[in-house]
Amino acid sequence: MGKTTVALALGLAAARQGLRTIVCEVAHQERFSRLMGREGVGYEETEIAENLNAISLDQQHTLEEWVTYQLPSKTLAGLLYRNGIFQHLTSAAPGIKELVTIGKIWELAQLHRKSKDARPYDFVVVDSPATGHGLGMLRAPRTFGDVARVGPIRHQADRIHDFIVSDKTGVLAVALPEEMPVNETLEYAEDLEQFRGPIDSVVVNGLYPARFTEAEIESLNGHTGPAVRAAVTEYCRYRSQVEELERLREGVPDAPFASLPFLFAPELGLDEVTELSHELEEQLA
């Protein structure tokens, strides 16, 4: 769908506007770094452009940090963390990954950071997992809050949940203009609405340029050759994309909408993402 690309483009746009921004990936794949053509940033808040930082969350670091925050002393945290039982329990417990991940994202967005010497951010962009799993992550604090009922976990889970459903958080869906991704996005918007309200914006990615008119394509009739076939293909794809884009728009009529062009560049790099970030800035302003 191009989630990573859109997330980075959004981060670049925010940073240009003077917001201290961080882009955050949750799968520990260093995709932002690769797009920027640089070394992986790992679990370190690292400046990758002016005003723009990146972090790559992995389960082990995130969990370790989370445990540390729960406890009054590092010694106790170390004791608990190194204890096989706890490792065991948390590495296998369903949903714990999602909980600590969303917990860390929440921490990044706080004015008073828990991380030592960490400065606050104005804007945190998350490259979330795909629809179903992404929603699972957003729901994790509620689930664990319900499990805990009372006590410190409940208290903390509630704070994170409240933040997710507040207007300080926005959810932007990225979709390709094709039948299945559009269906999935509409379904996601419905599920999200039940969980926290309407989707905040929708970005359609990879839209073919409107290069030819119908009349032009008709006038190619009778001409042959690979370039002619490529033109017809382009036109067919473009038409079917526009139909899907319209269907998506009708499905979420109230959400601010942006569409990003399909880039013919062989591999995306900083230049291309910067180009997209300007598009986003204009359309979603």
Partner: protein, 359 residues
């Protein structure tokens, strides 16, 4: 190379790969193609989104397998695994008696965790796969793996879950018993007070109950996990990697292949979807066109050419890295693939006697 020859004699086909590479559609297409070859095939997905139903042209699918009418000598069945129902079924199966079963099913923590989307899916997929395979009702099972953050999560999912349930250290620590918590009697005071700080005492009590009721079933889960592992490594299983021709997706596919082979699991081959294929050469006749249009046609062609070049280079590299492992290329088709007709279109490539776009 054809999927049919890769799957010759196989009973399980696991389709894996990064998100957004057409895994679900490919899984459905493989199932359709094998049903056409006379097999009774079931395709399973655990995708919480309705992609599989969508690709087969159905409004939705449930936890029960359902037959899809196609014109084929074999049979096509499909199901979308619902983690919660699957989990409940397994508990019912492993529970030594009705009382234990009810205790687990009504346990608060169990209810929350088994309904939460994340985490339990990979496990459920493996579990259901094993169960269906044991039942021997199908000739071939095709699994569309979840769009996992870590595509490998599902490989050791059964292990992880049985470890979780069977945490002996935890049993000692929490000293679960039907008569209540005996936390302090084991001299674990310091650790307990630390844990209590993190979780709150109520949660500890609930956890203890949870493990107490699950404890009786640990053995069953452990054995199942072993059986699933054996099944994954069995010769009757084949892993197919699905990728797009983009650099990133290919890198992930190669990483994944290494992991599968390291784990001693049978690697079947790789399928490259949506490759921009160079238009075959032919006589170009743009002469009589309006010059402006002719220039647009030429510019468009240059862009298409660049994409095809990129894909060709990437797939060439992949082909050489794959050595003699099977590799199948499906070109980017003009139509959007989202129903049985579309599946027929890609099956011309998946089941072609020999076709590689890289040549």
């Amino acid at each position: 190379m054809s999927v049919a020859s890769i799957l010759e004699g196989k009973e399980i086909c696991i389709c894996a790969g990064a998100g957004g590479v057409g895994k679900t559609t490919t899984s459905a297409a493989i199932a359709v193609g094998m049903a056409r070859r006379g097999l009774k095939v079931a395709v399973l997905t655990i995708d919480p989104a309705r992609r599989l139903a969508n690709s087969l042209g159905l409004p939705e699918l449930g936890n029960e397998e359902r037959q899809i009418e196609i014109d084929a000598p074999g049979e096509l069945w499909a199901m979308m695994l619902d983690a919660k129902s699957t989990f409940d079924e397994i508990v019912a199966k492993h529970a030594p008696d009705a009382a234990t079963r009810d205790a687990v099913l009504s346990n608060r923590i169990y209810k929350e965790l088994s309904t939460a989307v994340a985490g339990s899916q990979e496990y459920m997929a493996m579990e259901k796969l094993h169960e269906l395979h044991e039942e021997k009702r199908f000739d071939l099972l095709v699994l569309d793996t979840p769009p996992s953050r870590n595509a490998l999560d599902f490989l050791d999912a059964p292990d992880r879950l049985s470890r979780f349930i069977d945490s002996r250290a935890l049993h000692f620590f929490l000293a679960p018993s039907r008569t209540g918590l005996k936390l302090f009697s084991r001299g674990t005071g310091v650790l307990f007070s630390v844990l209590k700080r993190v979780t709150g005492v109520d949660l500890l009590k609930d956890l203890s109950d949870f493990f107490a009721s699950f404890g009786d079933m640990a053995q069953g889960f452990r054995e199942r996990a072993k059986a699933v592992k054996r099944l994954l490594a069995d010769d009757r299983t084949a892993f197919l990697l699905i990728t797009s021709p983009a650099h990133e997706a290919i890198a992930e596919a190669e990483f994944f292949r290494d992991k599968i082979e390291e784990a001693g699991m049978p690697f079947g081959g790789v399928i490259v979807n949506r490759m921009h294929v160079e238009e075959p050469d032919g006589d170009e006749d743009l002469g009589s066109l309006d010059p402006e249009l002719a220039e647009k046609v030429a510019a468009n062609f240059r862009d298409f050419h660049a994409l095809a070049e990129r894909d060709r280079r990437n797939v060439e590299e992949l082909t050489s890295d794959m050595g003699d492992r099977p590799l199948i290329v499906v070109p980017y088709l003009d139509e959007d693939i989202h129903d049985l007709d579309g599946i027929e279109a890609i099956n011309e490539y998946l089941f072609a006697a020999s076709y590689t776009g890289a040549e």
